[in-house]
Symmetry: C2
Subunit: 465 residues, 2 copies
């Protein structure tokens, strides 16, 4: 009746062999519904195995719903809707198999890189160890949705001291990166939010807003940043700005434009400014420009910061400071979202801040980037007849504007690529329109002086400088 | 003219003292717009400091936009829109200051706990150390948006072996917890998604769907799980189910109901089943029930898993397996979202899987929880005249159903609380309606036998059992 060939030598438990045999018989229609299974005693005798083993197989079949016990009659195959056929498992043919070949460049002037040669991995390792020794299993407990209070206090102190940000720990939300924090912010903003964005802009934020189907108004920039008149004429109720160092143009927004922006927000109900302070740490003369948030007296600025530039994009940690009104919305509607950052990581970063390593690391990196920045600018001194160098007061990239129009922007990029050099066309960051003159971004954070020299030398040839 | 009292002993750099003095003068209206600042030479002489120090202060003021240099005339205060007044900094009065007093219970029968006495913190510490030694700064690089391929391979292997899940690495997305993955999923689902949810249900998923303004249809459950007829009659196009162990009722969905559910999804365009396999690891007899996804031949099941129960909720890591059609939407529309999990953590977990610790840890925890489960059931044997014990075939909690109606559910909870015992009313998990009989959940994962005994003893008194 049953031709189960159990393999007594197999590693697979006997009960599983019986279970799998019967599942297959059912799936292939050999055991139709309502057919009776042999009794446990019969099958055990047949196969010369213990009654208990058969029982285990039958119990598994019963708990998965393949068979049912009918009192005093034994086990029967249950009715099934739809035919199963294990012989045609789901064969997934994916259009994009992730095997994209990423082009390797000889020199990549990425504006998004940071210098990982100086990543604090030894310090990190030590803090990890100390964290686990000091706190142990405690860190495996559920954490606060906003992030642990100790870390929020450390971040508040840092933001107040270094960026002039006025806030309480309660207003800070720690999250796994800027994209996530923007996602969470969409849960808090008024329903009909329309976003005024700098044009050109940080593409990642644009993508998030676009993905959430927000109306987006690209705003022109003058030499002081986002223009106020077109903003006032639009019905935008959120202005996304990078006042410390506009991405990609590098504009530092002066106090007066900041005040104008704040006044715009003060005059409207449910109207906010989203300040992305993504790389304010890297300023090479004087002290960092205080955050726009520090001028806000009416709770209109949402402040966004990240550890991606200062430590590493891989640690996935950012923070958002909510003004009071949005904090209240958060409390009511979104505080149920569990935190997105591991508590172990939170504690490591807290120590990194509290023990002063963060500011020391920043100072060190500032020195390293300043040297690269100065080297790049001095090396480009001879280019000044052909290009205007812009956006060099802060941050980790500069802009080269070609006013002679010998090559178009696309040609500049294309010719660089022919020599294995990657440069970044400014027009790619425009939401609408494009740059007036052919302009490319050169990032330098991730390059040594030798690499820069190599790249610039080749660019001189390809661009006929 | 200028009465700056510079403090030569102060730790604050001289240039900052000058800078701050002038900013305050401007903010308080003492230095109105267009007023001329003393020349660098004059001020340096006045204060008996170097010219360079004054220049640094002026440059900082200029770069923040407080003053401007007019050629051959010197520095002037710029025009400002709106009055600044630093004397009234933003005083944030928060309605909820986070100082909530969390009630401490003598015994908390939480269905959400896990036993952290056995958290793998030593193993974790070792893997952390090895990870940092082996890979170092490399882990500070940007990671794959879906999660690192090595970890996805480890998870695919585990899911295939233990849960019968059929998928390729490409279909897996690693994310910082179930809430985040559900958020991300809302970016992929068809626009008019209407969700059929088990009633009662897992509240956290309900909250996310509700927060994204999805139409939610509460579906009745019979002893096999979500009923099919009302599902068919609704216009839902997403069914959220917990087939391995329904939360909170503990129902294991039999094969036939699974097939009916799949057939429902097969018949509709853009229709999916979301399988939340949140605690399938903890089954005490036989092998775990294979995932519903393993029966899917047409790419209709979205599979959701988490490491919260198996390792710890604090490590913030879950995974989502997308069917082909949604994977394509992801590639086109949402793959720009950066990963939410640190690469260091991903590598630690990869090693935890690859080196076999995960399955060993699970086996150990299964044994520990089984012992607690068996103890609780045997201890409750004497209660059987008053209560029906349900949902005890798997997972980390059981249900006590009181059919005598001596106390209402609220009274049961209230009386337990009087003795310092926390039990969880079933009705709290209903989207609409409530349980037929007074029923409470008792979770046991986080309790020792002594704590259970203490709690049950007190409950016997309070509930007059």
């Amino acid at each position: 009746m049953f031709h189960i060939s159990v393999d007594h030598e197999s590693k697979k438990p006997m009960y599983l062999q019986i279970y799998e045999y019967i599942v297959n018989e059912i799936k292939q229609g050999q055991l139709p519904c309502n057919s009776k299974l042999p009794s446990g005693r019969e099958l055990a005798q047949d196969l010369n195995i213990s009654r208990n083993t058969v029982n285990m197989a039958y119990e598994q079949l019963e708990s998965e719903g393949y068979i049912e016990a009918q009192p005093k009659r034994g086990y029967f195959v249950r009715e099934m809707d739809g035919l199963l056929d294990l012989n045609t498992p789901l064969e997934v043919q994916l259009s994009n198999t992730g095997g994209e070949t990423i082009k390797e460049y000889r020199v990549d002037f990425s504006p998004f890189g940071i210098d990982l040669r100086y990543a604090p991995n030894h310090r990190w390792q030590r803090l990890m160890k100390e964290t686990m020794l000091d706190t142990g299993a405690d860190l495996f407990r559920n954490g606060d949705p906003q992030g642990d209070i100790g870390l929020r206090t450390a971040i508040r102190d840092y933001l107040h001291r270094s960026r002039g940000v006025n806030c309480r720990e309660e207003q800070i939300i720690i999250g796994a990166g800027t994209d996530y924090l923007l996602m969470l912010l969409t849960r808090l903003l008024p329903k009909d939010t329309k976003v005024a964005m700098e044009n050109p802009a940080y593409q990642q934020a644009y993508r998030v807003f676009h993905n959430f189907n927000y109306t987006i108004y690209p705003m022109p920039l003058d030499e002081e940043g986002m223009e106020i008149q077109p903003l006032k004429e639009s019905d935008a109720n959120l202005a996304f700005v990078t006042p410390s160092h506009q991405f990609p143009l590098g504009i530092v927004m002066p106090v007066n434009r900041r005040l104008q922006l704040l006044n715009w927000a003060y005059e409207k109900e449910d109207c906010y400014i989203l300040e992305d302070d993504y790389d304010s740490e890297f300023r090479y003369q004087g002290k960092p420009i205080p955050a726009l948030q520090s001028l806000d007296t009416k709770g209109k600025v949402i402040y966004l910061g990240t550890l991606s530039k200062a430590i590493s994009p891989a640690i996935r940690m950012g923070y958002m400071v909510l003004p009071k009104s949005l904090y209240e919305v958060y409390q009511q509607q979104a505080s149920f979202y569990a935190t997105t950052v591991s508590r172990i990581d939170q504690e490591i970063v807290r120590r990194f801040f509290a023990e002063g390593y963060f500011e020391r690391h920043l100072n060190r990196m500032r020195g390293i980037y300043r040297a690269k920045h100065d080297y790049l600018l001095s090396r480009l001194a001879t280019w000044k007849e052909r290009v205007i160098i812009e956006g060099h007061s802060a941050g980790l990239h500069i802009l080269l504007e070609f006013q002679d129009a010998m090559y178009s922007e696309a040609e500049l990029v294309e010719r660089a690529e022919q020599a294995g050099i990657k440069v970044y066309p400014l027009s790619a960051y425009y939401i609408t329109g494009c740059s007036v003159y052919p302009t490319v971004l050169l990032g330098y954070a991730n390059l040594t002086e030798e690499e820069m020299e190599d790249g610039l030398h080749l660019l001189e040839k390809m661009w006929e400088i």
